[in-house]
Symmetry: C2
């Protein structure tokens, strides 16, 4: 069969996302005997399949036509009401008109990109950062620039200096971050930095995207107010924060349900983008989720997952400390799913990976979370998915891999 | 509360889609006593809620972790296998690697736009056409141009003349059409035109998007081969057709399940776009649909819906003929959901609409399906959703409206 080699030469360049952890590593993750700390997958043990199934059956029995017909692009009224109540619990009392249901929070970000980014639009992201956000920005032609972070999250002083040094054309229009239990670093933005970031955003007219899939999974310490809740208290700040919520880490990713909350004008644009993206999110799954929320399932799930993940975090942190001792540089996250660490002598975690795969353990190398492809010594280890035995054994295999790489 | 009036002035212009039938008319559709021929909604009476519910329960019981975890971006293997078998039944035997599951076929088109359209890319569409396709193209900055159609579908001779008269820069890279039981016209592209269109597409290197949500709902006449099936037989044509399938009109829109089938390189690009769009489509709903397909539900549903819609089409056509007599100009569709008609003395169906709403009947005016906003005397009447009594009564109200508009 002879077909033209490049029949679509006219089309925009389209490469696999640089360092997309899931897709590049996927073929290895299912190898027999492999222990994976790589995926950002929640523990299957955290799913309450029975409750979700019962809710789906109940809403279908109650109103099959509503479950199976097209629904409004903004989302089903019943779910938006529950989300409004949830946001109020989270300190940001917004009416349901300021909430839009999305097909997962990945879609939420993509809708924002469509609504606010044109080719060349400058967008800044905290680094290390979530790779699929960078990929969405790059496909839209955004000019992406990284802002450094440290153990207290995004370095707001560095941001201020970068802003002072850039022209009006270079000024970012969007700033993306995961302020609470970040992916990959597990870091949480300190309260004074949250306040300072909002002041800078309003002054420089930057829309801050607060991506918050992990925020409710806090193991230790006091909860911090979300950027959205801080902004909601001040009319000068309110237009500059849009919040992305997700049920993927608390209920189940397979439902593909998330939401956006924030300024009406941003949501209006996002809804127009959603019309052409998928018309609406499945009304059946939305109504099932509304029923679960009304029944208090989220609070029960969250408590269960916190207990589960706290234990797994402690187990992994202890195993790493016992195994690597003083060679370990690690940060202890107060929540979320990830440990972010370095090991003395490992300057490039990507070069270590083949040794790890040979030892049948996997992680995601730090370079995947940058914006410039620069090598990184950091490893992202998820403690959420692996069993207790796998966590202990996987860390031991990691030591074998380090030794093999230094042989 | 004082907020800046235009805080997002930097962002791309974003208007409500011109003439989006559902969104503009939605507030009226739910008025008490309103009879709507407007929505492109399938009849709720066509849904088999019991079978879908049973399938969802069964797959959840069999493998809750797979239903509730993230799935592959391309789609679940079980569903792709069933879709491969379905495409073979439809005359296009493609391996499951050449099939990608989408969150409804609206997402399929949007992924193609992302994969193949840059700002300024010329894209041609048959007219009248599906408005959400035009909106997706416009949001992406495509240069959209309409191609006329007649009772035998897209005028391929007009297309040839337009191609002969345009420069390389103006040459379309994408051509969008619904070749079988088109929305809004109900028209079907004749077989000789199908062949001629493919020859033109290959010669001028144009990717043809065959959107086929209605093709299996044929009431009369012999089935015609899809563009995809014709192209699949010829290596020179195969790179130039991509097919969009949907379960919204045969199973239920609320599942948000569709698929794409065609050249591997286009699908590779679409999958990259899908990663940033929503990561994956709900594995739970995908597995439920795979189970329904394996059980033969689609064939049973299709037979049921054909019988239901054929009767409704006949009823509406008869009512229109009885009511308007020689003043009616209408085309009798051999399948699908829509009657496309004109009434003598009605030169602008949009001007008639307020009279119709006052008489408590609704339709979508023809101008909504153009690309230039030009007035049109045509009305799109859906015969799928209304009850038999509503069809008869709605047509009588339409006559009242015409009389009122001429008073």
């Amino acid at each position: 069969m002879s077909t033209p080699v490049h029949p679509y030469a006219f089309a925009p360049a389209m490469r696999e996302p640089q360092g997309s952890p899931i897709r590049e590593l996927f073929p290895y993750m299912s190898l027999p005997g492999m222990i994976s700390f790589a995926g950002g997958y929640p523990s299957p043990g955290s799913f309450d399949a029975g409750a979700l199934q019962a809710a789906a059956s109940a809403v279908m029995a109650a109103d099959p036509a509503q479950c199976l017909q097209y629904g409004p692009t903004e989302g089903m009224a019943a779910l938006r009401r529950e989300l409004s109540a949830l946001m109020a619990e989270r300190g940001a009392p917004l009416p349901s008109e300021q909430i839009v249901v999305t097909s997962g929070s990945q879609q939420g970000f993509e809708l924002l990109v469509k609504a606010l980014v044109a080719p060349g639009t400058p967008v800044w992201v905290e680094t290390p950062t979530y790779p699929a956000a960078v990929q969405a920005l790059r496909l839209a032609g955004a000019a992406v620039r990284g802002i450094p972070s440290d153990r207290d999250g995004l370095c707001v002083e560095s941001l201020a200096a970068m802003l002072a040094g850039c022209s009006e054309a270079e000024r970012p229009r969007l700033l993306y971050l995961v302020p609470t239990f970040a992916n990959p670093s597990g870091r949480t933005l300190a309260l004074d930095r949250r306040r300072a970031l909002l002041v800078l955003a309003a002054r420089h007219r930057i829309v801050v995207v607060e991506d918050d899939p992990y925020g409710s999974l806090r193991f230790d310490g006091e909860p911090l107010p979300s950027l959205l809740s801080l902004a909601a208290q001040d009319a000068a700040l309110a237009p500059w924060v849009i919040y992305l919520g997700s049920f993927s880490k608390t209920m189940a990713p397979g439902l593909r349900l998330g939401w956006m909350a924030g300024p009406a004008e941003i949501l209006r644009r996002a809804v127009i983008a959603k019309q052409v993206s998928d018309l609406c999110t499945s009304p059946w799954l939305q109504l099932a989720m509304a029923s679960c929320l009304a029944d208090g399932l989220l609070a029960r799930q969250t408590a269960r997952i916190i207990a589960l993940y706290r234990r797994k975090r402690d187990l992994m942190a202890q195993a790493l400390a016992d195994t690597f001792g003083a060679a370990l540089r690690s940060e202890m996250p107060q929540g979320g799913m990830f440990l972010w660490c370095g090991i003395e002598g490992v300057d490039d975690a990507a070069s270590l990976l083949p040794h790890a795969i040979a030892a049948r353990v996997m992680y995601v190398p730090g370079a995947s979370f940058g914006v410039d492809g620069a090598p990184s010594g950091a490893l992202r280890l998820s403690f959420a998915t692996a069993s207790d035995e796998q966590i202990v054994e996987g860390v031991a295999r990691l030591r074998q891999a380090v030794r093999a790489s230094q042989a």
